[in-house]
């Protein structure tokens, strides 16, 4: 059974149809990359999966449960963690507190200092445990957000443009971190990305969204040769930024 199945998801804002019938499934332990030109509905899709917004139609099934109508906090408790394109940390709280909140309210674990240190260690931030989130660098903030998602003990991790704005070294560090998470914790990852190069190293499979529809699903190598995909990107001004 697939870990996550979504079927025929529709969403429009005002009169603007952002998603029109998106379906796919994600297997346990898989790393799925989702790419597409600007405005293709990638972030909307992540928001629907994590429960930040509700779809107009369609079904989301996670671990065999229909969670379409669930609010985000219940999905978090069930094991869906996420990050945001622009980090949404609790900026006036410390790294420790940022991790403690999901650990307590999401995973329902005892929030011992050791456990929080451990989680911060995983993302390489244990030396910043008492720093305020607002004092961290962009790369550190992205790591902290990852740590906050990990504190939920997620089975599924949704990453929204986690590499945006990072320098190549930092990108490489996070790439290996994600790989490590899958290897060691068996976490399934859905990753929406502009930086295609990073995806080529990580993703088992890539989905391409264009104008609210899935136009390609398959291996990264096949994607870059796919005619539909090339048309979708070249037809767009913004094109490939990798």
């Amino acid at each position: 059974m697939s870990l996550l199945v979504i079927e025929d998801i529709h969403k429009s804002f005002g009169g603007n149809k952002v998603l029109r019938g998106v379906s796919f499934s994600v297997e346990k332990g898989e790393i799925l990359g989702i790419v597409g030109p600007n405005g293709s509905g990638k972030t909307t899709l992540i928001n629907i999966l994590s429960g930040v917004i509700k779809p107009d139609g369609g079904v989301v099934v996670f671990k065999g449960k229909d969670i379409t109508g669930w609010r985000a906090y219940r999905r978090a408790k069930l094991g869906i963690g996420r990050t945001y394109q622009i980090t949404r940390l609790f900026t006036n709280l410390t790294a420790f507190e940022n991790v403690m909140i999901p650990l307590h309210y999401g995973a329902g674990e005892k929030t011992s200092v050791r456990r929080i240190e451990e989680i911060l260690e995983t993302v390489g931030l244990s030396h910043k445990i008492h720093s305020y989130a607002s004092d961290l660098s962009l790369a550190q903030r992205k790591r902290l957000e990852l740590a906050r998602a990990l504190a939920l003990r997620p089975e599924l991790l949704l990453l929204d443009e986690v590499f945006a704005g990072l320098n190549p070294v930092a990108v490489q560090e996070i790439v290996s971190l994600i790989g490590k998470l899958r290897e060691e914790l068996g976490i399934t990852v859905v990753i929406v990305e502009h930086v295609l190069k990073a995806l080529s190293q990580l993703a088992d499979r890539v989905l391409v969204l264009a104008e609210g529809k899935v136009i390609f699903s398959g291996k990264y190598e096949d994607m870059v040769r796919d005619k539909e995909v090339i048309k979708a990107y070249l037809g767009e001004r913004y094109g490939e930024t990798a």
Binding site: S50, G51, V52, R71, A72, Y73, R75, A76, K77, G81, R82, Y84, R88, L89, F90, T91, N92, L93, E97, M100, I101, P102, H104, Y105, G106, A107, T111, Y132, S134, R148, A151, L152
Partner: protein
């Protein structure tokens, strides 16, 4: 910072021993100070820790006061029980309306609570049970301790509201509220049931505010829509909070005490001008001290 909190607690406890040394006037002045401080603490739960400014929080002051008075006068329930019921009614009403109301943020939320306050004032002026524009007269309290009892009641509500703030500052519950304040979407995806927690926070604010209103009603002996839903009280509470420091445990105490005491001492000197002075103080506090004397992070 923590030291300051204990200092405040110590001061509150010391104030329990003060009445024998006070004249009636100073007892009344301090009672007013406690009243404002409690209201400020109640608002701090909501604005300081949860990030929602209930500009019309005095709606619950009136609701609590009227409930207490109606239960006492029209139903004949003793004051103590009426007071607690008054606080609970305020809290429950707040809990019920919070989920739709708290979909609004920042000044939209602020102004909608204000609309609620004015609407309640209008309602109580129009219906029979609240005495309409006649208001309600309560008997002058002549029992145990005389009117000094109100000093202790206000002080106790202050203690309660202080302890609530201290608890929120340090507990897991408080972290749920702070997470909402910092980023509601992120709080939700960290597993915090934001609707529940912000409603509870709104409810706590209303409960304390309602209790203060109930004590006020019996203390002042006469209530009418205007005095129970006084906009100026809302504003004073916000100025005290902003002045002292939003989202800190000691801030509301420092803010409300300095504002009320200074105004008491200074304003009798400015009979004609104090309205202008008050207006200027509000503008200046916000322009010059937007973070308050005690700054919480950020």
């Amino acid at each position: 910072m923590a030291k300051l909190n204990w200092l405040v607690l110590g001061t509150i406890l010391l104030l329990y021993a003060l009445p024998p040394l006070l004249s009636g006037y100073w007892e009344r002045v301090l009672s007013s100070v406690f009243m404002l401080t409690s209201l400020t603490y109640a608002q701090n739960v909501l604005l300081g820790y949860t990030g929602y400014p209930a500009f019309g929080a005095i709606a619950f002051f009136g609701l609590g006061g009227y409930t207490t008075a109606v239960l006492m006068i029209k139903v004949g329930i003793p004051f103590g029980i009426s007071l607690i019921l008054g606080g609970m009614v305020s809290g429950l009403v707040a809990l019920l309306i919070a989920p739709p109301l708290m979909r609004l943020k920042s000044h939209y939320f602020a102004i909608t609570t204000l609309a609620l306050q004015i609407a309640l004032a209008e309602l109580s002026a129009n219906i029979e049970i609240t005495g309409g524009a006649y208001g309600i007269n309560l008997p002058i309290y002549k029992g145990f301790l005389g009117t000094t009892i109100f000093y202790y009641l206000f002080l106790s509500v202050l203690l309660l509201s202080f302890l609530t703030n201290l608890f929120i500052e340090r507990s897991k519950f408080g972290y749920a509220l702070k997470a909402i304040r910092e980023d509601e979407v992120a709080a939700e995806s960290s597993g915090v049931n934001t609707v529940l927690f912000k409603s509870v926070s709104f409810g706590i604010m209303a409960l304390i505010t309602g209790l203060v209103g109930g004590v006020y009603a019996y203390w002042i002996t006469y209530i009418d829509p205007e005095s129970m839903f006084d906009l100026l009280l809302s504003v004073k509470m916000f100025v005290a909070l902003l002045f002292g420091g939003v989202g800190t445990v000691a801030g509301p105490f420092i803010g409300a005490f300095s504002l009320e005491l200074v105004s008491e001492l200074v304003w009798s000197e400015f009979i004609e001008f104090h309205g202008v002075v008050l207006g200027a103080i509000i503008v200046l506090v916000i322009l010059l001290l937007p973070g308050g004397i005690l700054k919480s992070r950020g």
